[in-house]
Assembly symmetry: none
Homo-oligomer: 436 residues x 2
């Protein structure tokens, strides 16, 4: 089940994360984990990773030490315009090739600032420099182009450290280039099964039979990627015969999905918001949100998906009892009797959002995000509810973690309850149930 990690091989990748801030502890790196995941998903193996300060000689030394030991070396960070950006110079030293100014890159950089209505800052054209023996890599989402060069048989790529720019450049340009140059494309097929709200241990326990079947089989990987409120189970199969690979993969995915049942949201990168939106769009139905402790995060998660405005009409964030009454019609008697942290409050909020915004569905959250308690309730007590054309459901939760985690998990539970209601209504289940 475990992939062999180690140096060597054309499919081996090393990563150098360049930046003093990573060594000062002023920022936690997220690029390393993303790069590791992206390379693993592409069938490559990350053999090592290193954080190097913004120092030309040290970066050059690290590049020379890794060159020739792996197929690919990715450097992130240090390619911006300021004086502490040393990656281009370090590559030049490592290659023994002085920096030259790339005319096409100058045009691209000037064009980027012009297209964004900004004056070209002093020093920005430093980003057009590359070692004479290197080529530039276009940056679709930022001003700093990347650099690619071969050194000792290793393809070396320098990409931006800004996470959004790194991700788009690596996905769109670097990984396709690596795969094309290395001739690595052995028939490898993979599918991710996306699981909502279960922990990695629970998923692994449910998949004990599948794990046992593939244990020690070098043709199959079963990898778990845990994210907040979401685990991806990635099944990959290698082999020479594409039909046999496809058949093996289909069988393993079917067994994985059967073992996980309705906790499976979908396949290959879907998320709770995208799944809920697809269900709504397929039925041509609309949704409104009513939020207390999630403070807009529920609606924001939905509206971050392109095209969501067709189904999501909007919502109300009502922190105070007054706002819950005035904007959502939550009954003052109910609040007087039970306070605002109560499943029926969540239900009335969901109904209120549905009525006020004239939608088919309403989804609501109320509870205590913390750090302090509220009305005698502990942080983490949360109620989520869904109101639909013929259904009213709520779910009571005791969620772990700090404020942001409670908010994030509340959003996930509200969306998951909505997902279950949308699926159940399609299947003709009972109209009103309360999970407490």
């Amino acid at each position: 089940m475990r992939r062999l990690l180690g140096p060597g091989g054309r499919d081996a990748v090393a990563v150098l994360l360049v930046g003093d801030e990573l060594l000062l502890g002023s920022v936690a790196d997220s690029n390393g984990a993303w790069l590791a995941q992206a390379c693993t998903s592409a069938g490559l193996r990350v053999a090592g990773m290193e954080v190097v300060p913004d120092d030309t000689d040290l970066v050059a030394t690290a590049v020379r030490r890794r060159a020739g030991t792996v197929g690919t070396l990715v450097l992130s960070g240090g390619i911006g315009p300021t004086s502490d950006d040393v990656t281009r110079q370090a590559l030049a030293e490592a290659c023994g090739c002085p920096l030259v100014r790339d005319p096409e890159a100058e045009v691209a950089i000037s064009g980027w600032f012009a297209a964004h209505g900004r004056r070209l800052p002093a020093g920005a054209l430093r980003m057009a420099e590359r070692p004479g023996c290197a080529r530039m890599v276009l940056n679709p989402h930022g001003s700093a182009p990347g650099v690619a060069v071969e050194l000792g048989g290793t393809q070396v790529y320098a990409v931006p450290g800004v996470p959004g720019e790194l991700r788009s450049m690596v996905s769109a340009a670097v990984l396709p280039d690596v795969l094309a140059r290395s001739g690595l494309l052995r028939p490898t097929l993979s599918t991710s099964v996306e699981v909502a709200l279960l922990g990695e241990s629970a998923v692994s326990a449910r998949l004990a039979d599948v794990e046992a079947e593939v244990a020690g089989d070098p043709a199959v990987d079963l990898a778990y990627l845990a994210r907040p409120a979401h685990v991806s189970v990635r099944v990959s199969v290698r082999g020479e015969d594409p039909d046999a690979v496809r058949a093996r993969l289909d069988g393993l995915v079917a067994r994985t999905e059967a073992a996980l049942g309705s906790d499976v949201m979908g396949r290959d990168g879907v998320s709770l918001p995208s799944v809920v939106l697809d269900l709504l769009l397929a039925r041509d139905e609309t949704l409104a949100c009513a939020e207390s402790l999630t403070g807009g995060g529920l609606c924001a998660a939905l509206t971050s998906v392109p095209g969501s405005s067709v189904a999501v009409r909007g919502g109300v964030v009502a922190y105070s009892a007054d706002a819950k009454r005035d904007l959502l019609g939550v009954g003052p008697g109910l609040v007087a009797a039970h306070g605002t942290v109560h499943p029926e409050v969540a239900e009335q909020m969901a109904q209120g959002a549905r009525a006020r915004l004239g939608t088919d569905w309403g989804v609501a959250t109320t509870g205590v995000a913390g750090p302090d308690g509220l009305e005698g309730h502990e942080p983490g007590e949360v109620h989520v509810a869904v109101a639909g054309p013929a259904v009213l459901r709520s779910r009571t939760l005791q969620l772990p973690g700090d404020r942001r985690r409670v908010q994030r998990l509340s959003v996930a539970h509200a969306l998951d309850l909505l997902r279950h209601c949308l699926l159940a209504e399609g299947a003709g289940e009972s109209p009103r149930t309360v999970d407490r």
Copy 2:
């Protein structure tokens, strides 16, 4: 200008993070940033950091390569009881000293399990092994003891990878030991100046004089950390005399803040939401949000801050023109004449949120997040507005990037306009201005 984070020196530290999971991307490392922060705070310099797979030879090679180049080497992870825990064996190979079973450690491990009411698991006493030339380090919060050994003049420490255990062992045992052995403790002070909405290039250009003053001065570092819509400028000063270090730092920070003017949000980790909330709380005033293209993200950014519910009453997400009219009172005539992507629509939304939720301030967003255009407007055209007790302001923007970036930048611009209005009102500026 730059802190020398290179190798060498008794105050230099290198970190090896041991674990396949960090190279598969299945977990994001948090120990590296914590260790960097802890070492920097203790006056040490982290000279390098590396992720190494669970492979005895590769860990031993990495240890040998770093030994003699730094005063301290910290390995985290791989000291548990299972077969993929290889750090003890790797240290033994690196030192050329076979593993021995430490009798005191056996007692400590057995005692830990007994104290926690658990049977001693098979293999647990493997954790009592250390190279013959090494000593053990007690683990106050877990069963796995650490290991300390000197190699080539470098103090090498192996600590657990479990974050809570690592932090307690490093704070309680490792750092005091390092400082006692090295006789270090030079005063280092640093301050971060937090800048809103300027790019790294623009910040650097504004600080050209400060950069020139400190260029080549080994006692001063000036480091930039770029995040979305936010740059941190970290100024650090080293020296023997604490008063002189403080005076130098204060002078540099004052010049940095003067050069950046009102684009400075504050110091040492503040963010736009936290700054706006602090301004509101200091005045005992309240806020409501009205959002179109940001879809709840503006209110969510504010409510993610603990204690925000005192100032943030809530808000309305109104995607459709109907919702803008019904929930926020935006005039149908205005929408008929200009559509919903217009500065006056943003202004009426801000006023509507303020009126409907009965708050002192309202802040609003409208525009086109993309990927598609809307009502003849291109993605990225955004209008933000603020309504206050005696002010109504809007700002028109053309923002770059994909849907999420446009949404995130819109949130930042709305909060920054609110920040300026709150500061200006305090300073008695003119009541109604429109930046278009």
